[in-house]
Protein backbone atom coordinates (compact mmCIF):
# COMPACT_ATOMS: atom_id res chain seq x y z
CA UNK A 1 0.00 0.00 0.00
CA UNK A 2 1.49 3.37 -0.91
CA UNK A 3 1.98 5.53 2.09
CA UNK A 4 0.02 8.54 0.98
CA UNK A 5 -0.74 10.29 4.22
CA UNK A 6 2.63 11.93 4.59
CA UNK A 7 2.44 13.25 1.05
CA UNK A 8 -0.01 15.92 2.11
CA UNK A 9 -3.58 16.66 1.18
CA UNK A 10 -5.75 16.52 -1.89
CA UNK A 11 -4.48 16.23 -5.37
CA UNK A 12 -1.01 14.93 -4.67
CA UNK A 13 -1.94 11.30 -4.27
CA UNK A 14 -1.32 8.95 -7.12
CA UNK A 15 -1.51 5.18 -7.02
CA UNK A 16 0.97 5.07 -9.87
CA UNK A 17 3.77 6.04 -7.51
CA UNK A 18 3.17 2.76 -5.70
CA UNK A 19 4.71 0.86 -8.56
CA UNK A 20 7.79 3.07 -8.58
CA UNK A 21 10.50 1.45 -10.64
CA UNK A 22 11.73 -1.82 -9.20
CA UNK A 23 15.45 -1.92 -8.63
CA UNK A 24 17.65 -4.60 -10.19
CA UNK A 25 17.97 -6.78 -7.06
CA UNK A 26 14.17 -6.72 -6.76
CA UNK A 27 13.80 -7.99 -10.29
CA UNK A 28 16.28 -10.78 -9.62
CA UNK A 29 14.40 -11.78 -6.50
CA UNK A 30 11.20 -11.90 -8.53
CA UNK A 31 12.65 -14.18 -11.21
CA UNK A 32 14.16 -16.57 -8.71
CA UNK A 33 10.84 -16.65 -6.85
CA UNK A 34 9.06 -17.51 -10.11
CA UNK A 35 11.50 -20.34 -10.80
CA UNK A 36 11.07 -21.74 -7.31
CA UNK A 37 7.33 -21.57 -7.73
CA UNK A 38 7.46 -23.44 -11.05
CA UNK A 39 9.74 -26.15 -9.60
CA UNK A 40 7.37 -26.66 -6.72
CA UNK A 41 4.38 -27.06 -9.07
CA UNK A 42 6.22 -29.65 -11.13
CA UNK A 43 7.08 -31.62 -8.00
CA UNK A 44 3.49 -31.52 -6.72
CA UNK A 45 2.18 -32.82 -10.03
CA UNK A 46 4.85 -35.52 -10.28
CA UNK A 47 3.88 -36.85 -6.85
CA UNK A 48 0.19 -36.77 -7.74
CA UNK A 49 0.76 -38.78 -10.92
CA UNK A 50 2.97 -41.23 -9.04
CA UNK A 51 0.20 -41.77 -6.45
CA UNK A 52 -2.40 -42.49 -9.14
CA UNK A 53 -0.06 -44.86 -10.99
CA UNK A 54 0.78 -46.72 -7.76
CA UNK A 55 -2.91 -47.03 -6.84
CA UNK A 56 -4.12 -48.20 -10.27
CA UNK A 57 -1.07 -50.45 -10.75
CA UNK A 58 -1.53 -52.25 -7.43
CA UNK A 59 -5.26 -52.65 -8.12
CA UNK A 60 -4.57 -54.05 -11.58
CA UNK A 61 -1.92 -56.44 -10.24
CA UNK A 62 -4.07 -57.56 -7.32
CA UNK A 63 -7.06 -58.19 -9.59
CA UNK A 64 -4.91 -60.15 -12.00
CA UNK A 65 -3.10 -62.43 -9.54
CA UNK A 66 -4.92 -62.36 -6.24
CA UNK A 67 -8.52 -61.12 -5.88
CA UNK A 68 -11.48 -62.01 -8.09
CA UNK A 69 -11.94 -59.41 -10.85
CA UNK A 70 -15.57 -60.50 -11.21
CA UNK A 71 -16.40 -58.67 -7.97
CA UNK A 72 -13.75 -55.98 -7.88
CA UNK A 73 -13.09 -55.45 -11.59
CA UNK A 74 -9.80 -53.83 -12.58
CA UNK A 75 -8.62 -50.59 -14.16
CA UNK A 76 -8.03 -52.09 -17.61
CA UNK A 77 -11.57 -53.54 -17.65
CA UNK A 78 -13.05 -50.21 -16.52
CA UNK A 79 -11.06 -48.44 -19.22
CA UNK A 80 -12.22 -50.79 -21.99
CA UNK A 81 -15.80 -50.39 -20.72
CA UNK A 82 -15.45 -46.62 -21.05
CA UNK A 83 -13.95 -46.96 -24.52
CA UNK A 84 -16.79 -49.29 -25.46
CA UNK A 85 -19.40 -46.83 -24.20
CA UNK A 86 -17.98 -43.91 -26.06
CA UNK A 87 -17.25 -45.72 -29.33
CA UNK A 88 -19.94 -48.39 -29.64
CA UNK A 89 -22.62 -47.19 -27.23
CA UNK A 90 -24.20 -48.49 -24.04
CA UNK A 91 -26.87 -51.07 -23.43
CA UNK A 92 -29.35 -48.17 -23.30
CA UNK A 93 -28.14 -46.38 -26.43
CA UNK A 94 -25.62 -43.61 -27.03
CA UNK A 95 -23.61 -42.56 -23.95
CA UNK A 96 -23.98 -38.91 -24.92
CA UNK A 97 -27.74 -39.25 -24.72
CA UNK A 98 -27.47 -40.67 -21.20
CA UNK A 99 -25.12 -37.89 -20.15
CA UNK A 100 -27.37 -35.26 -21.71
CA UNK A 101 -30.46 -36.61 -19.93
CA UNK A 102 -28.74 -36.73 -16.54
CA UNK A 103 -27.27 -33.25 -17.06
CA UNK A 104 -30.64 -31.77 -18.00
CA UNK A 105 -32.17 -33.24 -14.87
CA UNK A 106 -29.32 -32.10 -12.64
CA UNK A 107 -29.10 -28.60 -14.10
CA UNK A 108 -32.89 -28.20 -14.09
CA UNK A 109 -33.15 -29.24 -10.45
CA UNK A 110 -30.11 -27.14 -9.56
CA UNK A 111 -31.40 -23.93 -11.14
CA UNK A 112 -34.94 -24.27 -9.78
CA UNK A 113 -33.72 -25.32 -6.33
CA UNK A 114 -31.12 -22.57 -6.15
CA UNK A 115 -33.55 -19.84 -7.21
CA UNK A 116 -36.24 -21.03 -4.78
CA UNK A 117 -33.66 -21.44 -2.01
CA UNK A 118 -32.19 -17.97 -2.50
CA UNK A 119 -35.55 -16.20 -2.73
CA UNK A 120 -37.14 -17.94 0.25
CA UNK A 121 -33.91 -17.86 2.26
CA UNK A 122 -33.53 -14.11 1.89
CA UNK A 123 -37.23 -13.50 2.47
CA UNK A 124 -37.28 -15.49 5.69
CA UNK A 125 -33.88 -14.17 6.71
CA UNK A 126 -35.21 -10.62 6.59
CA UNK A 127 -38.62 -11.23 8.12
CA UNK A 128 -38.60 -12.19 11.75
CA UNK A 129 -42.31 -13.04 11.74
CA UNK A 130 -42.18 -15.29 8.69
CA UNK A 131 -39.11 -17.12 9.94
CA UNK A 132 -40.68 -17.63 13.39
CA UNK A 133 -43.79 -19.07 11.77
CA UNK A 134 -41.95 -21.30 9.32
CA UNK A 135 -39.07 -22.48 11.52
CA UNK A 136 -40.62 -25.76 12.81
CA UNK A 137 -41.90 -26.74 9.36
CA UNK A 138 -38.56 -26.15 7.74
CA UNK A 139 -36.75 -28.07 10.46
CA UNK A 140 -39.14 -30.97 9.99
CA UNK A 141 -38.83 -30.87 6.21
CA UNK A 142 -35.08 -30.84 6.53
CA UNK A 143 -35.15 -33.85 8.84
CA UNK A 144 -36.98 -36.00 6.29
CA UNK A 145 -34.58 -38.37 4.53
CA UNK A 146 -35.24 -36.55 1.29
CA UNK A 147 -33.69 -39.15 -0.95
CA UNK A 148 -36.72 -41.34 -0.19
CA UNK A 149 -38.89 -38.72 -1.84
CA UNK A 150 -37.47 -39.95 -5.14
CA UNK A 151 -39.83 -42.95 -4.89
CA UNK A 152 -42.77 -40.65 -4.29
CA UNK A 153 -41.84 -38.43 -7.22
CA UNK A 154 -41.72 -41.43 -9.55
CA UNK A 155 -45.31 -42.16 -8.57
CA UNK A 156 -46.33 -38.53 -8.99
CA UNK A 157 -44.42 -37.56 -12.11
CA UNK A 158 -43.73 -40.91 -13.78
CA UNK A 159 -40.50 -42.18 -15.27
CA UNK A 160 -39.89 -38.99 -17.25
CA UNK A 161 -37.37 -36.30 -16.44
CA UNK A 162 -39.66 -34.29 -14.19
CA UNK A 163 -39.47 -36.80 -11.32
CA UNK A 164 -35.64 -36.58 -11.33
CA UNK A 165 -35.73 -32.81 -11.50
CA UNK A 166 -38.01 -32.84 -8.47
CA UNK A 167 -35.56 -35.05 -6.54
CA UNK A 168 -32.62 -32.83 -7.45
CA UNK A 169 -34.73 -29.79 -6.53
CA UNK A 170 -35.48 -30.89 -2.95
CA UNK A 171 -31.84 -31.74 -2.34
CA UNK A 172 -30.56 -28.43 -3.74
CA UNK A 173 -33.26 -26.28 -2.18
CA UNK A 174 -32.38 -27.01 1.44
CA UNK A 175 -28.64 -26.71 0.90
CA UNK A 176 -29.06 -23.26 -0.64
CA UNK A 177 -31.94 -22.13 1.54
CA UNK A 178 -30.11 -22.45 4.86
CA UNK A 179 -27.09 -20.56 3.58
CA UNK A 180 -29.15 -17.78 2.01
CA UNK A 181 -31.14 -17.54 5.25
CA UNK A 182 -28.01 -17.28 7.36
CA UNK A 183 -26.45 -14.83 4.92
CA UNK A 184 -29.48 -12.54 4.99
CA UNK A 185 -29.63 -12.79 8.77
CA UNK A 186 -26.02 -11.83 9.34
CA UNK A 187 -26.04 -8.64 7.31
CA UNK A 188 -24.06 -5.98 9.12
CA UNK A 189 -26.58 -3.67 10.83
CA UNK A 190 -24.15 -0.85 10.38
CA UNK A 191 -24.33 -1.19 6.60
CA UNK A 192 -28.12 -1.25 6.65
CA UNK A 193 -28.31 1.85 8.88
CA UNK A 194 -25.77 3.64 6.75
CA UNK A 195 -27.73 2.90 3.58
CA UNK A 196 -30.96 4.08 5.21
CA UNK A 197 -29.35 7.35 6.24
CA UNK A 198 -27.97 7.78 2.74
CA UNK A 199 -31.54 7.60 1.49
CA UNK A 200 -32.16 3.96 0.59
CA UNK A 201 -35.71 2.61 0.53
CA UNK A 202 -36.51 -0.85 1.90
CA UNK A 203 -36.23 -2.34 -1.59
CA UNK A 204 -32.91 -0.60 -2.20
CA UNK A 205 -31.56 -1.90 1.11
CA UNK A 206 -32.56 -5.39 0.01
CA UNK A 207 -30.94 -5.13 -3.42
CA UNK A 208 -27.81 -3.19 -2.62
CA UNK A 209 -27.01 -4.42 0.89
CA UNK A 210 -28.73 -7.68 1.78
CA UNK A 211 -28.33 -9.54 -1.51
CA UNK A 212 -24.64 -8.72 -2.03
CA UNK A 213 -23.91 -9.52 1.64
CA UNK A 214 -25.56 -12.91 1.31
CA UNK A 215 -23.85 -13.64 -2.01
CA UNK A 216 -20.69 -15.12 -0.56
CA UNK A 217 -22.79 -17.41 1.66
CA UNK A 218 -24.96 -18.44 -1.27
CA UNK A 219 -22.07 -19.07 -3.63
CA UNK A 220 -20.39 -21.25 -1.03
CA UNK A 221 -23.52 -23.40 -0.85
CA UNK A 222 -23.80 -23.67 -4.64
CA UNK A 223 -20.63 -25.78 -4.77
CA UNK A 224 -22.09 -28.57 -2.68
CA UNK A 225 -25.54 -27.96 -4.16
CA UNK A 226 -24.51 -29.00 -7.65
CA UNK A 227 -23.14 -32.22 -6.22
CA UNK A 228 -26.53 -32.74 -4.56
CA UNK A 229 -28.30 -32.05 -7.86
CA UNK A 230 -26.28 -34.80 -9.55
CA UNK A 231 -26.99 -37.17 -6.67
CA UNK A 232 -30.68 -36.33 -6.94
CA UNK A 233 -30.74 -36.97 -10.68
CA UNK A 234 -28.80 -40.24 -10.45
CA UNK A 235 -30.77 -41.57 -7.48
CA UNK A 236 -33.98 -40.60 -9.28
CA UNK A 237 -32.84 -42.59 -12.30
CA UNK A 238 -31.92 -45.45 -10.03
CA UNK A 239 -35.42 -45.52 -8.63
CA UNK A 240 -37.07 -45.72 -12.02
CA UNK A 241 -36.19 -44.26 -15.40
CA UNK A 242 -35.88 -45.07 -19.05
CA UNK A 243 -32.68 -43.09 -19.69
CA UNK A 244 -29.70 -41.63 -17.89
CA UNK A 245 -26.43 -42.46 -16.14
CA UNK A 246 -28.24 -43.70 -13.03
CA UNK A 247 -30.13 -46.19 -15.14
CA UNK A 248 -26.84 -47.27 -16.71
CA UNK A 249 -25.35 -47.94 -13.28
CA UNK A 250 -28.51 -49.66 -12.13
CA UNK A 251 -28.38 -51.86 -15.21
CA UNK A 252 -24.70 -52.68 -14.59
CA UNK A 253 -25.63 -53.68 -11.02
CA UNK A 254 -28.38 -55.94 -12.36
CA UNK A 255 -25.96 -57.76 -14.64
CA UNK A 256 -23.12 -58.02 -12.08
CA UNK A 257 -21.02 -55.73 -14.24
CA UNK A 258 -18.65 -54.13 -11.69
CA UNK A 259 -16.66 -52.42 -14.44
CA UNK A 260 -19.86 -50.73 -15.66
CA UNK A 261 -20.53 -49.31 -12.19
CA UNK A 262 -17.00 -47.91 -11.98
CA UNK A 263 -17.25 -46.49 -15.49
CA UNK A 264 -20.54 -44.75 -14.60
CA UNK A 265 -18.96 -43.36 -11.45
CA UNK A 266 -16.06 -41.96 -13.43
CA UNK A 267 -18.33 -40.24 -15.96
CA UNK A 268 -20.35 -38.64 -13.15
CA UNK A 269 -17.19 -37.57 -11.33
CA UNK A 270 -15.84 -35.84 -14.43
CA UNK A 271 -19.14 -33.98 -14.87
CA UNK A 272 -19.11 -32.91 -11.22
CA UNK A 273 -15.53 -31.66 -11.51
CA UNK A 274 -16.34 -29.65 -14.63
CA UNK A 275 -19.34 -28.07 -12.90
CA UNK A 276 -17.20 -27.30 -9.85
CA UNK A 277 -14.66 -25.58 -12.07
CA UNK A 278 -17.39 -23.49 -13.72
CA UNK A 279 -18.83 -22.48 -10.35
CA UNK A 280 -15.42 -21.50 -9.04
CA UNK A 281 -14.91 -19.28 -12.09
CA UNK A 282 -18.31 -17.68 -11.49
CA UNK A 283 -17.52 -17.15 -7.84
CA UNK A 284 -14.20 -15.52 -8.73
CA UNK A 285 -16.01 -13.07 -11.00
CA UNK A 286 -18.77 -12.20 -8.54
CA UNK A 287 -16.51 -11.89 -5.52
CA UNK A 288 -13.61 -10.01 -7.03
CA UNK A 289 -14.06 -7.36 -4.36
CA UNK A 290 -13.01 -9.77 -1.64
CA UNK A 291 -9.52 -9.54 -0.18
CA UNK A 292 -7.29 -12.44 -1.23
CA UNK A 293 -7.27 -15.31 1.26
CA UNK A 294 -4.56 -15.12 3.88
CA UNK A 295 -1.37 -16.78 2.76
CA UNK A 296 -2.19 -16.40 -0.93
CA UNK A 297 0.66 -13.96 -1.30
CA UNK A 298 3.73 -15.94 -2.28
CA UNK A 299 6.73 -15.68 -0.04
CA UNK A 300 9.95 -14.71 -1.68
Amino acid sequence: MPSVWNSGLSGELSPATAKAALGKPDRQALTSAATAHRRRRIRVWAIRVALVVAWLGSWEAAATYWIDPFYYSKPSAVWSKLVDWFTVGTSQGSIWEQISVTMQEAVGGFVLGAVAGVVLGILLGRSRLLSDICAPFIKAANAIPRIVLASLFVIWFGLEMSSKIATAFVLVFFAVFFNAFQGAREVDRNLVNNARILGASQAQVLWTIVVPSATSWILASLHSAFGFALIGAVVGEFTGADKGLGLLINHAQGTFDAAGIYAGMIVITVIALLAEWLLTALEGRLLKWRPPAAGAEAQI
Binding site: M1, V4, W5, L9, S10, G11, L13, S14, P15, A16, D188, N190, L191, N193, N194, A195, R196, I197, L198, G199, A200, S201, Q204, T208, I209, P212, T215, L287, W289, R290, P291
Partner: protein
Protein backbone atom coordinates in the same frame (compact mmCIF):
# COMPACT_ATOMS: atom_id res chain seq x y z
CA UNK B 1 -33.68 30.37 18.72
CA UNK B 2 -34.95 30.45 15.18
CA UNK B 3 -32.00 28.76 13.57
CA UNK B 4 -31.85 25.78 15.95
CA UNK B 5 -31.80 22.86 13.56
CA UNK B 6 -31.64 20.18 16.25
CA UNK B 7 -33.62 20.26 19.44
CA UNK B 8 -34.03 17.58 22.09
CA UNK B 9 -36.68 18.12 24.75
CA UNK B 10 -36.48 15.78 27.70
CA UNK B 11 -35.57 12.89 25.42
CA UNK B 12 -35.15 9.56 27.17
CA UNK B 13 -34.23 6.24 25.60
CA UNK B 14 -34.63 2.89 27.32
CA UNK B 15 -33.66 -0.50 25.98
CA UNK B 16 -34.52 -3.93 27.22
CA UNK B 17 -31.19 -5.21 28.48
CA UNK B 18 -29.90 -8.70 27.76
CA UNK B 19 -30.45 -9.77 31.36
CA UNK B 20 -34.16 -8.96 31.04
CA UNK B 21 -34.14 -5.69 32.96
CA UNK B 22 -34.45 -2.21 31.53
CA UNK B 23 -31.40 -0.22 30.62
CA UNK B 24 -31.73 3.54 30.39
CA UNK B 25 -29.21 4.72 27.82
CA UNK B 26 -29.97 8.43 27.96
CA UNK B 27 -32.17 10.25 30.43
CA UNK B 28 -33.94 13.57 30.04
CA UNK B 29 -31.73 15.10 27.36
CA UNK B 30 -32.43 18.70 26.59
CA UNK B 31 -30.16 20.49 24.16
CA UNK B 32 -30.14 22.49 20.95
CA UNK B 33 -27.71 22.79 18.09
CA UNK B 34 -27.80 25.76 15.72
CA UNK B 35 -27.03 25.79 12.03
CA UNK B 36 -23.33 26.28 11.31
CA UNK B 37 -22.48 25.19 14.86
CA UNK B 38 -19.97 22.46 15.63
CA UNK B 39 -20.88 20.71 18.86
CA UNK B 40 -18.78 17.98 20.40
CA UNK B 41 -20.31 15.59 22.90
CA UNK B 42 -17.92 14.00 25.38
CA UNK B 43 -18.56 11.55 28.15
CA UNK B 44 -17.24 8.38 29.68
CA UNK B 45 -17.01 5.38 27.38
CA UNK B 46 -20.29 3.55 26.93
CA UNK B 47 -22.43 6.25 28.53
CA UNK B 48 -24.98 6.58 25.74
CA UNK B 49 -23.45 9.22 23.52
CA UNK B 50 -24.18 7.17 20.40
CA UNK B 51 -27.80 6.80 21.44
CA UNK B 52 -28.15 10.58 21.29
CA UNK B 53 -27.13 10.48 17.65
CA UNK B 54 -29.49 7.65 16.76
CA UNK B 55 -32.34 9.67 18.29
CA UNK B 56 -31.52 12.67 16.10
CA UNK B 57 -31.02 10.51 13.00
CA UNK B 58 -34.40 8.86 13.45
CA UNK B 59 -32.89 5.37 13.54
CA UNK B 60 -34.32 5.00 17.08
CA UNK B 61 -37.44 6.73 18.36
CA UNK B 62 -37.21 8.22 21.86
CA UNK B 63 -39.01 6.36 24.68
CA UNK B 64 -40.05 9.69 26.14
CA UNK B 65 -39.69 13.34 25.25
CA UNK B 66 -39.33 14.94 21.88
CA UNK B 67 -36.70 15.21 19.18
CA UNK B 68 -37.04 17.97 16.61
CA UNK B 69 -35.02 18.43 13.47
CA UNK B 70 -35.47 21.65 11.51
CA UNK B 71 -38.45 22.47 13.71
CA UNK B 72 -40.50 19.35 13.12
CA UNK B 73 -40.63 16.17 15.22
CA UNK B 74 -38.51 13.29 13.96
CA UNK B 75 -40.50 10.49 12.34
CA UNK B 76 -38.26 8.22 10.35
CA UNK B 77 -35.04 9.61 8.95
CA UNK B 78 -35.23 13.39 8.51
CA UNK B 79 -34.09 15.07 5.30
CA UNK B 80 -30.60 16.47 5.22
CA UNK B 81 -29.10 14.22 7.88
CA UNK B 82 -25.69 12.67 7.35
CA UNK B 83 -24.31 10.14 9.80
CA UNK B 84 -20.78 8.81 10.02
CA UNK B 85 -20.60 5.65 12.05
CA UNK B 86 -17.90 4.53 14.43
CA UNK B 87 -17.25 1.37 12.47
CA UNK B 88 -16.62 1.30 8.76
CA UNK B 89 -19.90 1.32 6.91
CA UNK B 90 -18.45 1.38 3.41
CA UNK B 91 -19.71 -1.38 1.13
CA UNK B 92 -16.88 -3.86 0.63
CA UNK B 93 -18.22 -5.04 -2.74
CA UNK B 94 -18.23 -1.57 -4.29
CA UNK B 95 -15.34 0.47 -5.58
CA UNK B 96 -14.50 3.78 -3.93
CA UNK B 97 -16.38 5.69 -6.62
CA UNK B 98 -19.52 3.59 -6.40
CA UNK B 99 -19.45 3.75 -2.61
CA UNK B 100 -19.50 7.52 -2.75
CA UNK B 101 -22.13 7.47 -5.50
CA UNK B 102 -24.46 5.34 -3.34
CA UNK B 103 -26.27 8.30 -1.72
CA UNK B 104 -27.22 10.11 -4.97
CA UNK B 105 -28.18 6.76 -6.53
CA UNK B 106 -30.49 5.98 -3.60
CA UNK B 107 -32.01 9.42 -4.03
CA UNK B 108 -32.92 8.67 -7.62
CA UNK B 109 -30.14 10.29 -9.63
CA UNK B 110 -28.94 8.63 -12.81
CA UNK B 111 -25.80 6.55 -12.66
CA UNK B 112 -23.84 9.08 -14.69
CA UNK B 113 -24.92 12.07 -12.59
CA UNK B 114 -24.27 10.21 -9.34
CA UNK B 115 -20.80 9.18 -10.51
CA UNK B 116 -19.94 12.70 -11.62
CA UNK B 117 -20.91 14.03 -8.19
CA UNK B 118 -19.02 11.23 -6.51
CA UNK B 119 -15.92 11.94 -8.56
CA UNK B 120 -15.70 15.52 -7.31
CA UNK B 121 -16.13 14.37 -3.71
CA UNK B 122 -13.55 11.63 -4.06
CA UNK B 123 -11.16 14.34 -5.18
CA UNK B 124 -12.21 16.68 -2.40
CA UNK B 125 -11.37 14.13 0.29
CA UNK B 126 -8.01 13.52 -1.35
CA UNK B 127 -8.58 10.13 -2.93
CA UNK B 128 -8.17 11.09 -6.59
CA UNK B 129 -6.66 8.12 -8.41
CA UNK B 130 -8.22 5.59 -6.07
CA UNK B 131 -11.71 5.62 -7.61
CA UNK B 132 -11.49 2.03 -8.84
CA UNK B 133 -10.07 0.53 -5.63
CA UNK B 134 -12.07 -1.73 -3.35
CA UNK B 135 -12.20 -0.89 0.36
CA UNK B 136 -10.03 -3.85 1.37
CA UNK B 137 -7.23 -2.38 -0.74
CA UNK B 138 -7.25 0.85 1.28
CA UNK B 139 -5.78 1.79 4.65
CA UNK B 140 -8.02 2.58 7.61
CA UNK B 141 -7.57 6.31 7.11
CA UNK B 142 -8.45 6.08 3.43
CA UNK B 143 -11.61 4.09 4.24
CA UNK B 144 -12.58 6.89 6.63
CA UNK B 145 -12.13 9.33 3.76
CA UNK B 146 -14.43 7.20 1.64
CA UNK B 147 -17.02 7.20 4.43
CA UNK B 148 -16.65 10.96 4.79
CA UNK B 149 -17.15 11.53 1.06
CA UNK B 150 -20.08 9.10 1.07
CA UNK B 151 -21.76 11.15 3.80
CA UNK B 152 -20.89 14.59 2.44
CA UNK B 153 -21.91 13.91 -1.16
CA UNK B 154 -25.53 14.23 0.00
CA UNK B 155 -24.66 17.73 1.26
CA UNK B 156 -26.22 17.24 4.69
CA UNK B 157 -27.37 20.22 6.68
CA UNK B 158 -26.92 18.13 9.83
CA UNK B 159 -23.82 16.02 10.21
CA UNK B 160 -23.78 13.40 12.96
CA UNK B 161 -20.44 11.79 13.72
CA UNK B 162 -19.98 8.91 16.12
CA UNK B 163 -16.33 8.66 17.15
CA UNK B 164 -15.47 8.46 13.46
CA UNK B 165 -11.71 8.68 13.91
CA UNK B 166 -11.28 6.64 17.09
CA UNK B 167 -9.84 3.63 15.25
CA UNK B 168 -7.10 5.65 13.55
CA UNK B 169 -3.53 6.18 14.65
CA UNK B 170 -2.69 9.56 16.18
CA UNK B 171 -1.15 11.22 13.11
CA UNK B 172 -3.83 10.05 10.70
CA UNK B 173 -6.43 11.18 13.16
CA UNK B 174 -5.04 14.72 13.35
CA UNK B 175 -4.93 14.85 9.56
CA UNK B 176 -8.53 13.71 9.29
CA UNK B 177 -9.60 16.30 11.86
CA UNK B 178 -8.02 19.03 9.76
CA UNK B 179 -9.68 17.63 6.66
CA UNK B 180 -13.03 17.55 8.38
CA UNK B 181 -12.75 21.20 9.44
CA UNK B 182 -11.65 22.20 5.94
CA UNK B 183 -14.56 20.40 4.29
CA UNK B 184 -17.10 21.61 6.82
CA UNK B 185 -16.15 25.30 6.82
CA UNK B 186 -18.57 27.37 4.83
CA UNK B 187 -21.16 24.63 4.42
CA UNK B 188 -23.37 25.99 7.19
CA UNK B 189 -24.05 22.47 8.42
CA UNK B 190 -24.70 21.76 12.08
CA UNK B 191 -22.31 19.11 13.36
CA UNK B 192 -22.74 16.86 16.38
CA UNK B 193 -19.47 15.07 16.97
CA UNK B 194 -19.42 12.35 19.61
CA UNK B 195 -16.07 11.40 21.07
CA UNK B 196 -14.47 10.20 24.28
CA UNK B 197 -11.35 12.19 23.49
CA UNK B 198 -11.56 15.62 25.09
CA UNK B 199 -8.62 16.99 23.10
CA UNK B 200 -10.35 16.08 19.87
CA UNK B 201 -13.56 17.67 21.10
CA UNK B 202 -11.94 21.00 21.94
CA UNK B 203 -9.81 21.10 18.80
CA UNK B 204 -12.84 20.70 16.56
CA UNK B 205 -15.86 22.22 18.27
CA UNK B 206 -17.45 25.58 19.03
CA UNK B 207 -19.08 24.06 22.09
CA UNK B 208 -18.38 20.97 24.15
CA UNK B 209 -21.21 19.17 25.89
CA UNK B 210 -20.20 16.95 28.81
CA UNK B 211 -22.39 13.97 29.55
CA UNK B 212 -22.69 12.13 32.84
CA UNK B 213 -21.96 8.48 33.43
CA UNK B 214 -24.74 6.05 32.58
CA UNK B 215 -27.67 6.79 32.41
CA UNK B 216 -26.39 9.72 30.43
CA UNK B 217 -27.73 13.18 30.76
CA UNK B 218 -26.21 16.57 30.10
CA UNK B 219 -23.89 17.80 32.79
CA UNK B 220 -22.62 20.99 31.26
CA UNK B 221 -22.02 22.92 28.10
CA UNK B 222 -18.72 24.73 27.59
CA UNK B 223 -18.04 27.25 24.82
CA UNK B 224 -14.70 26.95 22.99
CA UNK B 225 -13.76 30.52 22.02
CA UNK B 226 -10.86 29.55 19.74
CA UNK B 227 -10.64 31.30 16.41
CA UNK B 228 -11.06 29.57 13.07
CA UNK B 229 -9.54 28.40 10.80
CA UNK B 230 -7.72 26.07 13.17
CA UNK B 231 -4.72 23.85 12.81
CA UNK B 232 -5.49 21.08 15.25
CA UNK B 233 -1.92 20.00 15.86
CA UNK B 234 -0.66 23.53 16.56
CA UNK B 235 -3.74 24.33 18.58
CA UNK B 236 -3.09 21.64 21.15
CA UNK B 237 0.03 23.43 22.36
CA UNK B 238 -1.53 26.86 22.89
CA UNK B 239 -2.21 28.13 26.40
CA UNK B 240 -5.84 28.94 25.66
CA UNK B 241 -6.38 25.36 24.60
CA UNK B 242 -4.88 24.08 27.84
CA UNK B 243 -7.02 26.41 29.93
CA UNK B 244 -10.19 25.24 28.25
CA UNK B 245 -9.04 21.66 28.56
CA UNK B 246 -8.47 22.04 32.29
CA UNK B 247 -11.86 23.61 32.83
CA UNK B 248 -13.79 20.91 30.98
CA UNK B 249 -11.68 18.08 32.35
CA UNK B 250 -12.63 19.14 35.89
CA UNK B 251 -16.21 18.41 34.96
CA UNK B 252 -15.54 15.29 32.94
CA UNK B 253 -13.15 13.63 35.38
CA UNK B 254 -15.82 13.03 37.98
CA UNK B 255 -17.98 11.20 35.44
CA UNK B 256 -15.11 9.13 34.13
CA UNK B 257 -14.32 8.05 37.68
CA UNK B 258 -17.94 7.25 38.35
CA UNK B 259 -18.10 5.16 35.18
CA UNK B 260 -14.92 3.34 36.16
CA UNK B 261 -16.32 2.53 39.59
CA UNK B 262 -19.52 1.30 37.98
CA UNK B 263 -17.62 -0.95 35.65
CA UNK B 264 -15.42 -2.24 38.43
CA UNK B 265 -18.39 -3.17 40.63
CA UNK B 266 -20.06 -4.86 37.67
CA UNK B 267 -16.90 -6.79 36.92
CA UNK B 268 -16.53 -7.87 40.57
Amino acid sequence: MADDVIELRGATKRFRSTSGGIHTAVHDLTMTVAANEFVAVVGPTGCGKSTTLSLVSGLEPPSEGEVLVAGSPVRGIPDGVGYMFQNDAVLPWRSVLDNVAAGPRYRGESRAAARAKARTWVERVGLAGFEGYYPHQLSGGMRKRVALAQTLVNEPSILLMDEPFSALDVQTRALMQDELLRLWSGTGAAVVFVTHDLEEAIALADRVIVMTASPATIKGSFPVPLSRPRDVEELRLSTEFLEIYREIWESLREEVEKARKGNASRAA
